[in-house]
Amino acid sequence: MRLTRQQIAARVADDIPDGAYVNLGIGVPTLVADYLPDDRQIVLHTENGMLGMGHAAAPDEIDDDLINAGKIYVTEELGAAYFHHADSFAMMRGGHIDYCVMGGYQVSVAGDLANWRTNSVTSIPGVGGAMDLAAGAKHVYVLMDLFTKAGECKLVQQCTYPLTGAECVERVYSDVGVFELADGEVRVLDLFDDELGIEGLAAIVGSPLVDARLAVS
């Protein structure tokens, strides 16, 4: 069985400890916020200049001056703080953000991340804060479907799309499984697609996978 995006987001949320400062990327990673356990205080950072970001604003909660990095109206938690952009990125680049969760086009077995542009010549390149997070967050997690719509595996030997950062990804949370990239190894922390199996997946990735499921259970 493969996980839905909501289920993957919930799996990521489950692994974020109490007291962590976390940046969630635009798009699917934003879903993680919906599954953060109520019994943990987790402080969300949005790179346009806020710690203590709350949920998306309901129509009657919209404040014109309060948006997140995805330009969605959001709310403010108790304990929130605002700061300017250079301070906000100092938090990211200076290693103060504990976890960041981003989407990915490709992740290599060495932990290289490609998630900011494809090779299309007609697309408009935009990088935003992805390279800063990749370089500066203490733990870089990537949340993505493991295969493209065309069926190509996104966990690859070498990224063919332009890099966002080199050797920066620590974990990949996907519909197929959870993988830890460390010391040149791909460790399987969780596997949801039993039909595919570790051997089957290793053949697709083209790299040995270390079964680390016992180690975490």
Partner: protein
Amino acid sequence: MINKEVEDHLEAVADIVDGSTILVGGFGPPGQPVELINALLENGARELVIVNNNAGAGGSAILKLFSAGRVRKVICSYPKAIDSTVFDELYLAGKIELELVPQGNLAERIRAAGAGIGGFYTRTGYGTELAEGKETRLIDGKHYVLEQPIHADFALIKALTADPWGNLVYRKTARNFGPVMATAANVTIAEVTNVVPLGGLDPEIIVTPSIYVDRFIRTRAAAERTAADERAQA
């Protein structure tokens, strides 16, 4: 007596000439100096270099500068707009130059300019195409890329409240680039919603000290509100 308020919006941007490099505040619509941008449109300066996080995606006011063909080059981190193709068309037609900068480098390069820093090494972008051709250095076992400051002729920013000296405070995520950009331009022009008398801002909470601000305008809505208050008091 220092009073940096300029009543006429056009007068506030009168010294912006063709070819100027302009830092424009805002991340998405919050913090965008809409009335200053409109005045700049009216001013007519061309061949501008615009530094703004979102370029064409930064809201309808800044988009008008692009669609009016006033911008020669844009320095930004994320020009893709969901709701507009103006920038895309100019870019794909080769009518506008784009310097794409990681967002943290954009903020820090502006900050460096304001702080008199001639460049800095950052880990951001190392090993990517945005660092190609740039000097790198190995520091404590980690790779860094040399980045240069971004100086500008003008900064146009939006704040919530000013006093006559130009001390500024901001509101929520509308603060974004304002305080950093204010430091990095030869001339910084602010657009504010409220003006209070000298002493009306608690010195402990001032975000942009007045030394960085050359002049400011009051938004028209705010000016009308003040006039109505004065009439009510009379």
